[in-house]
Assembly symmetry: C2
Homo-oligomer: 141 residues x 2
DNA sequence: ACGCAAATTGGAACAATTCTAATCTATGAG
DNA sequence: CTCATAGATTAGAATTGTTCCAATTTGCGT
């Protein structure tokens, strides 16, 4: 077997779950296949559930929520906060930022190398930086 | 009368509403007084409603929501998206960014002069930049 | 195969927000 | 001033996204 990165898009769903120490249940396998079929997907619980339904995957909405949170906890997904009423999950866990198309609820990646934030002051005493998130809000002309 | 900026914190609630072309109702006046009493406040509808209740201001929650949105539309407040389950409003409408203390739901201002974002690529065709928002997520040690 | 911890599920519960339709009020025309 | 009316407020219902719950099912080590 060729040398392979720990977590690659071409890694199959089973291996992914194993690496994350999550039981490879039918639901998790099928959701992982949907999620990691392509790169850089941005989904909400609802959108993923719908996609599952369309693809004939039988999973309850509760399980979609559970799975997204478990994948996030396992580092397979990251959560992106751009909208006060919906939670987005991102299959791209690397360093990058986002354009957010307000009226469409669409997220577009900005590679981490392109963008940079400088001059972030030290946080107040007793606080440690977790992440620096940039959201470029854009509107369709 | 001394020369005065268009929208200053020391401006009284009535003048503020007049400048924003909003009828100076009792509720709007009282909420404006609470909001602009100090600089740089970050409130949620719930927190402002509670504060009102504490201060003996009689306003319904529906009106708090209406008022926050109207103030925002009038440019008196800006909305800050940092949490997927709550909407924050900011009395500081100038250029600045935020620390967000995750578990406490607390927002802390970062002056706009200190922080700077560079390398934002041009948005995809047909999209125009609305704002560039930086959220530095921090955790209590 | 069995037993059991872990996972799934439908539906109830929740929390934040918006909506509705009835009532009240600021305002400006007369 | 008085009044008519457009605009504002309100209680409570409705909606939405998400979490919780208790019952059932399933993956997996023995
Ligand atoms: Mn502020
Ligand atoms: Mn919600
Ligand atoms: Zn992304
Ligand atoms: Zn602020």
């Amino acid at each position: 077997m060729a040398n392979m990165a720990y977590d690659t898009p071409e890694m199959d769903a089973g291996a992914r779950l194993k690496a994350a120490r999550l039981r490879p249940t039918r639901q998790r396998l099928e959701l992982a296949r949907l999620l990691f079929r392509e790169h850089d997907r941005h989904v909400t619980a609802e959108s993923l559930a719908e996609e599952g339904a369309r693809m004939g995957v039988k999973v309850s909405l509760a399980t979609v929520y559970n799975t997204l949170h478990q994948f996030k906890a396992a580092g397979l997904l990251r959560q992106v906060v751009v909208d006060a009423s919906r939670t987005y999950f991102d299959t791209n866990v690397g360093d990058h930022q986002h354009f957010f198309v307000e009226n469409e609820g669409l997220l577009i990646d900005i590679p981490g190398e392109e963008i940079s934030v400088s001059g972030v002051p030290n946080p107040p005493q007793g606080l440690t930086i977790d992440s620096v998130d940039v959201v470029v809000r854009v509107k369709r002309n």
